[in-house]
């Protein structure tokens, strides 16, 4: 199990600080994802270039960019089994449960569940809790993008 890091940066609280009250942090608008390797400096430089292009009067809807520090980190995230799950989700459409997805993929439910969690964390898969009449709740699983572009230079 991963050890939780409990160190916390120094913080000077003042009366103006409030507890957070927001249901979500991010929004998903694009259905095109580009995955690749960049340094943190390159990552920020690309974001600044997008802002500069917009400022020149050329605002362009950006694909979702997933940036990794190294090829190893990218390949650890997108393993062949997870890649196959993504292909299956794109081909099949949404699945109504992890069980259904695991059965179709001919894989063990618990490992599929772990892989879906990782892919959802990366933003490649959408998991939505749905009421399952008479059977509590289940999860609807679908691909987050119509197109995933992988950019990797070796």
């Amino acid at each position: 199990m991963k050890k939780t890091n409990t160190r916390k940066a120094t913080i000077h609280r003042h009366p103006g600080m409030l507890p957070v009250d927001e249901p979500t942090i991010f929004t998903d608008e694009s259905t095109h994802i580009v995955m690749g390797v960049q340094s943190e400096e390159e990552f920020f430089a690309e974001v600044r270039a997008q802002a500069a292009a917009a400022k020149r009067g050329e605002p362009k809807a950006a694909p979702i960019r997933l940036s990794f520090e190294s090829a190893e980190q990218l390949l650890e995230a997108l393993t062949p089994l997870r890649y196959r799950l993504l292909k299956l989700l794109q081909k099949h459409g949404a699945f109504d449960s992890i069980e259904e997805l695991a059965t179709t993929a001919e894989r063990d439910r618990s490992t599929v569940s772990k892989d879906v969690k990782v892919l959802a964390g990366l933003g490649l898969v959408l998991v939505e809790a749905v009421a399952n009449r008479g059977h509590g709740r289940s999860s609807s699983i679908s691909a987050a993008a119509d197109e995933i572009e992988l950019s990797l230079v070796i």
Partner: protein
């Protein structure tokens, strides 16, 4: 009927995985002329904090908190603070990146 013109364009939706299991995520919307309409910058790491869905630090203008004069605000380990000195998106991005450098030094491999 003519299609409704999109009022804002998402010109940036960039996410970056960090070595310590965190994620940097930047969102930026502009109008058709390229003026910033909204932004959202966040560093999320559930290994560092579970508060605010793991958001360690963030700057955004998603909505105005009660008692705050402006909608520009920051997130810091589950609490929010008002940013009264907003200058521009570029300036805010610079502040965000500089604060990440401080967090990177502090957390090392756990960043």
């Amino acid at each position: 009927m003519a299609a409704k013109k999109k009022s804002r364009i998402k010109v940036t939706d960039s996410r970056r995985s960090t070595k310590g299991g965190g994620e940097i995520r930047l969102e930026h919307w502009t109008d058709a002329a390229g003026n910033t309409t909204n932004y959202n910058m966040a560093y999320v790491n559930l290994n560092i904090t579970s508060d605010d869905k793991g958001r360690v630090f963030g700057l955004d203008d998603a909505h105005k908190y009660p008692g705050f004069v402006s909608k520009h605000h920051g997130h810091w380990y589950g609490e929010v603070f008002e940013v009264r000195s907003f200058v521009s998106y570029d300036d805010t991005l610079q502040t965000f990146q500089q604060t990440l450098e401080v967090l990177k030094r502090q957390y090392g491999k756990a960043y």
